[in-house]
């Protein structure tokens, strides 16, 4: 079980995260969506204890009940070796081009688990099979450039799974891949979380990829969680104006929408230092009220497992 409580990350005058809380149970898949600059990658790095040096963090992160907010780098390193893993958007950049992919995956096995060369090789082979890498025996001896983008991403997933982590953070894992390859990668992630009882944080701007992968959806804007809940409920009945805008701005699939204008969210995502003090979405929201710009909207419980932070909901509750 991994939790984040009231996490705030600042860079000088800019707030990258504000009051973010998240709970991850084993086997749970949480999707984090939002546009670029809304803090989703920062949340992933914070959970991994990999924030840049310039970041000041407040709040609590616990792993299996132990508070890690002030833990030294060595503790984090040990955790990252065994308990949590991360995969990124660009599988090419994350692999050493001069190392055979079999050796790359064997390295953490031998280093952290102390496996012998042969034992490590067998484990790598099993991991390659588990992650659906074709001709795993032959792939062991290949270099990253000899693999396709999808196969490289699978190698990275195998690498991430090497030490049997309880949490996998996937930051835009499908963005650099072709759509039909991305589809298979998300299928694989779902299967792995089920068989291994591993928690997954799936960070992406691609609503479609997230929707088909996760069971819980977190919508971020301006470094805050504006809405969260079971994925089908949030998508079919969004409650925060930003979530509504985000879903509404997607062209519908049904016929008869040719040249019909799309509903838009006016303006663009503001920079970290230009964020409004109150509700982060103030200034772009169609339903803005006088109190929005000045005061932060409290989180309102709108269902058994749902919440959203918006003044409209606060008013409706009263």
């Amino acid at each position: 079980m991994i939790t984040a409580e009231d996490l705030t990350v600042r860079f000088g005058a800019g707030a990258a995260l504000r009051g973010v809380s998240l709970r991850l149970a084993p086997g749970q898949r949480v999707g984090v969506v939002g546009e670029s600059g809304c803090g989703k990658s920062m949340l992933g790095l914070a959970l991994m204890g990999m924030l840049p040096d310039a970041a000041q963090m407040a709040g609590r992160i616990t792993v299996d009940g132990a508070d890690l907010s002030a833990a030294p780098e060595a503790t984090w390193r040990a955790l990252r070796a065994r308990r949590m893993a991360m995969i990124f958007q660009e599988p090419t950049a994350a692999l050493n081009p001069l190392q055979r992919v079999g050796e790359a995956v064997a390295e953490p096995l031998r280093l952290h688990l102390g496996l012998s060369r042969d034992a490590a090789r067998d484990r790598v082979l099993a991991l390659f099979e588990e992650t659906g890498i074709q001709e795993p025996e032959a792939k062991l001896r290949q270099y990253p450039h000899e693999l396709s983008g999808g196969q490289r991403q699978r190698v990275l997933i195998a690498l991430a799974l090497a030490c049997d982590p309880g949490l996998l953070i996937a930051d835009e894992p499908t963005t650099a891949l072709d759509a039909h390859v991305g589809l298979r990668i998300t299928d694989l992630l779902v299967r792995l979380t089920r068989t291994r009882q591993m928690a997954l944080v799936f960070i992406s701007h691609d609503l479609a990829a997230v929707a088909r992968t996760v069971d819980r959806l977190v919508v971020m804007y301006g470094g805050e969680i504006v809405e969260e809940g079971p994925v089908d409920q949030v998508l079919s009945d969004p409650q925060h104006p930003y979530t509504k805008g985000l879903i509404g701005a997607r062209p519908p699939f049904e016929p008869g929408h040719l040249r019909r204008r799309l509903p838009v969210i006016p303006g663009t995502v503001p920079g970290l230092v230009d964020l409004p003090k109150g509700c982060r979405f103030a200034g772009r929201c169609a339903q803005e009220m006088p109190q929005c710009a000045g005061t932060r909207a409290p989180k309102v419980q709108t269902g058994p497992e749902r919440s959203a932070a918006c003044h409209l909901l606060t008013e409706a509750a009263q």
Partner: protein, 271 residues
């Protein structure tokens, strides 16, 4: 009357470098016998993933590259039979917008200079007013003309690129992944702008994308490409409603918001 754009059986083959010294690699067939027609005011979506040949096709439609076989006819003229001078004279009528709003504007030139470039190439010396009009048309202030690309956000830069493309009042616009690099909210703004411009100027568009989720509101017809070959070619609404190939169906599935928990329960799997 002939179609505005008529591409007839074009193919393009690239030689591949040898991997071993003594054996030539078979050449890469980037585009394999593709035909398409586009009328004024209509939009054709070309859907394909990396390596599908969609960019090569775009380059041939734009006259940057000649097909090995087949012809590209614009207003009845075969682009690749024209003299360089005649092709240049025809260029204001078909323009292009690109995927990367950061790479499509020269960082060392003010925005107004870039937008005015096609006008100057046409020989319109006093183009300042036309530049300001084009900028206003895409929702930017004329004051933007003196600023540099790095001062603008991705969405604004894409507007600038569109202003440059429409400055000469073209009748065909080739958009190569023009909204793919943009965030959802900005993407909707740019797509609306393209729809408005299309109606205003009776603009025909070739809209190239890998993402089927954007075609329903923009495209009359669709051409699905894979490995340089046509997989499916039909009215967009028909393809979206009932894709005829597995490949198109997969792309469609990848673009649709269907919560996985739904999909799983529908298939009767336990979560």
């Amino acid at each position: 009357m002939s179609a505005l754009l008529d591409v007839r059986g074009v193919s393009r083959v690239y030689p591949r470098p040898r991997r071993v010294l003594w054996r030539a690699e078979p050449p890469l067939v980037a585009v394999d016998d593709i035909s398409l027609r586009l009328e004024r005011g209509q939009t054709l979506g070309i859907v394909g993933e990396s390596g599908s040949g969609k960019s090569t096709l775009a380059r041939m439609i734009m006259g940057f590259e000649a097909p090995d076989v087949g012809e590209v006819r614009f207003e009845g003229q075969n682009l690749h039979d024209l003299t360089p001078g005649a092709l240049r004279a025809l260029r204001p009528a078909f323009q292009m917008i690109f995927q990367d709003p950061y790479g499509s504007l020269d960082p060392r030139r003010p925005v107004g200079w870039s937008v005015g470039q096609p006008l100057r190439a046409m020989g319109r010396a006093h183009s300042t007013r036309a530049v300001h009009e084009a900028l206003e048309r895409v929702g930017l202030s004329p004051a933007a003309a003196t600023r540099y690309p790095h001062e603008f956000s991705g969405g604004q830069r894409q507007r600038i690129a569109i202003a440059r493309a429409i400055a000469t009042r073209p009748c065909l616009l080739v958009a190569d992944e023009a909204v793919s690099a943009l965030d959802v909210s900005v993407r909707a703004q740019i797509m609306n702008l393209l729809m408005e411009l299309q109606e205003e100027f009776a603009l025909a568009m070739v809209f190239i994308t890998h993402d089927l989720s954007v075609v329903s509101s923009l495209c009359d017809d669709l051409l699905v490409l894979r490995h340089g070959k046509t997989i499916e070619q039909n009215a967009a609404q028909r393809i979206l409603a009932a894709p005829q190939s597995d490949y198109t169906a997969t792309l469609l599935a990848a673009a649709q918001i269907t919560p996985q928990s739904h999909a799983a329960t529908a298939k009767g799997q336990s979560p």
